[in-house]
Amino acid sequence: MSRHHRSFSPIVAFEHSAFTPYLPTTKRRAAYWLFGIAITVLACRIVFGDRNEPEAIYLLGACLSWIAFIMPNSIRAMQSTHQPFQEWWLTFPLDRRTLIRAKLLATLRLNGYIAAAFWLIATIHNFGAAMLTESPFHASNGRLWADAGAYGLLYAAIVLFVTSITALVPLMLNGWFRFILLPYILIWSLPMGNLGKLINNDYLMPARWHQSDMVVLYALGLALLGWGVYHAAIRGVARYGTRGLTPRETGKAGVSPRRQPSLIQRAVRSRSAATGFRCLIQLERSKHRSIASNKWMKLTRGILTIGLAIGGYFALRENEGVSMVRVILIFPSVFAVTLITLSYANDITKRRMEWIFSFPYSPFKIALSRLFAMWTTAILWVGGALTAAGVGAVVRYIVQRPDIIATTNDIEGASFLLIAFLTYFLFGTLIIHAQYGNMKNPLLAAIGLPFAMASYLVPTMINMYVLPDSFGENGVAPHWWIGLGITAAIAIPFASYIFITSVRTITTSMLSSQARVAGRFKWK
């Protein structure tokens, strides 16, 4: 055995050990996994029946795998830059590429299991549907086997590509590499726009493009791309990404750089009158402002603002105002939910939980202050985006007034969408707290948590189903308004109840997570 291999195997085994407790490598865990797969197959049978083509089921699984990999892996990659263990890791007697390759291999293994589970669910569903029904979709066994093989390759390619691209996250936190964040965010959100269509057995492209022979080509192409990203991630992160991996800079005692305070800093220094709960909200908002004041974020916001203004200009011309509103509302809805999770994850990594929960306020008030802060920020983002689009529209109006600006139906449609997204926004940001609740609570475990996970899918569902395209001609029918009202009347109180129940045990949950991230598995 070569010297490299001798030292590589232990580090790979070490990285694997982080995920082994979650994998079906023991009889008990395998039983849990099989139970979960069985339940999901049953759910698929109930939801999809024999209405959906086998390819649509596989594509849905592919999208869900994508979503299941990209966010946890990104958070993990970000957290890796701040873990207390980091300096131990960086001083292992192995070159950086080896260290990063070992991490990647461990994550590939974990994601491989997850993708295999999704593939198995889709395959069992399709074969089961073929045996139980006489649907023309499942008539040909040859088609089923071809699909199973082709989509299996696609799932493997997705594992390679998505795992490798999330490994680039430490790189994206440095200098010019932050520009990678823009395409990264697009890649992140790629599957979300398709989920709704696939559930409805609808495709973006002609059905021919989803047949097994084409899928094999996609799989090979994606695998090739993934292979390139894999090597780029190893080399790039080893060279540039580990720059930010060492903990705080030291040696600056007595040499304090006198920073010219910004407008925000001067405002805080003047000691605002806010106290108590309002101050908690302001503290959380300061985090959002800090992120927004980063020069790369400013650049991104500038680009997006210009894009939205251009979009507003053309939207007015093409009478696509409602579509413009759709586009503007969908992303903040998802990102607000994501940012709540990321904010707590960041505080866990930075070991701030004791500080936060030793503020003289109940955990409920502390969690509520964060929620209010997020709502405020989201409203400001959406307001800014709508304003940018509005400016573009006004410019168009001045330059060349279109014949039709907006009909009453358009205004009604836009209002309906706004309320629908607002309902989702409130629902999603409240129910996402289920993940911090006590999982021994049967309501949280059985209902709250799946809802929390599904909350990322809802914006696409709203986009596809909530407002039919016919509203332009016929307006929003009364039953749609009634449906929206009933949905809001049920969803928001339910989500509020989940929020209140979850934050009762949020302290214990957060401290446990903090201890786990810090690598401590027992209380001191």
Partner: protein, 233 residues
């Protein structure tokens, strides 16, 4: 000065993930005293402190802080410095103190200014760029700028440089001289703090191994360190 009981623990138990972290912990502290909570790693010091602050609820026993069950109300009368906890690194020291003055109802601006001077905290410095010693001083400043009756410090010296330690020790000594504040300090730096402790509570394997009055120990020819070694060696 009349002393009142500020912390009372009776038979406190804590079971976490089927492991008994604390077992039959019983002790009390009086106002105006500095109490050292000493023990090896994994003894249960931080767990006990989290129970006293109300962050965790014990699975058994009885805890009273200033005559009340630990919770939000007692947090308003208690300052807590967590072990290795980090302050918001996107803020400067001044910004953090600004928010702290709004969050804590008992904040004293005059105290804040005084401690900024004594602990030599640079207000304009970003927390994210501070050394551990600098942040430790800022964290202690946060605790001492409040008019609280109890100050709980969990390992205030971890990873802190010598000069910062001396400043922190002096600050604590000064704060307790003639005051009625209770300090409960968990630390491994026994020599640094030995001369300041009025009492020590030795905790190991989740149980109280002994409670000693330091003056009595010295009268018997012992030191805190020697007592610690006797109990845990």
């Amino acid at each position: 000065m009349e002393q009142t009981v500020t912390i009372q623990c009776t038979g406190v138990e804590m079971i976490f993930k089927k492991k008994q972290a604390l077992r039959n912990v019983t002790f009390s502290t009086n106002s105006g005293s500095i109490v050292g909570l000493l023990g090896p790693n994994g003894a249960g010091k931080s767990t006990l402190m989290r129970i006293l602050t109300g962050i965790l609820e014990p699975t058994g026993g009885f805890v009273e802080v200033l005559g009340r069950k630990p919770g939000v109300e007692t947090l308003a009368q208690l300052s807590f410095l967590p072990d290795r906890g980090q302050l918001p690194n996107w803020l400067t020291a001044d910004q953090w103190l600004g928010y702290a003055s709004g969050i804590y109802p008992d904040w004293d601006i005059a105290l804040e200014r005084e401690w900024v001077r004594k602990l030599e905290v640079d207000r304009t410095m970003g927390i994210g760029t501070m050394s551990r010693g600098q942040e430790a001083r800022l964290q202690l400043l946060t605790c001492l700028s409040r008019r609280t009756k109890i100050v709980i410090l969990d390992e205030p010296f971890t990873g802190v440089d010598l000069l910062s330690r001396e400043r922190i020790s002096s600050a604590i000594a000064e704060e307790t001289a003639g005051g009625d504040r209770t300090f409960l300090i968990a630390t491994h730096d026994i020599r640094e703090m030995e001369s300041m402790f009025d009492r020590i509570i030795l905790i190991g394997d989740g149980t109280i191994k002994g409670v000693y009055d330091t003056e009595e120990l010295r009268d018997e020819g012992h030191s805190v360190e020697s007592c610690y070694r006797e109990v845990f060696a």
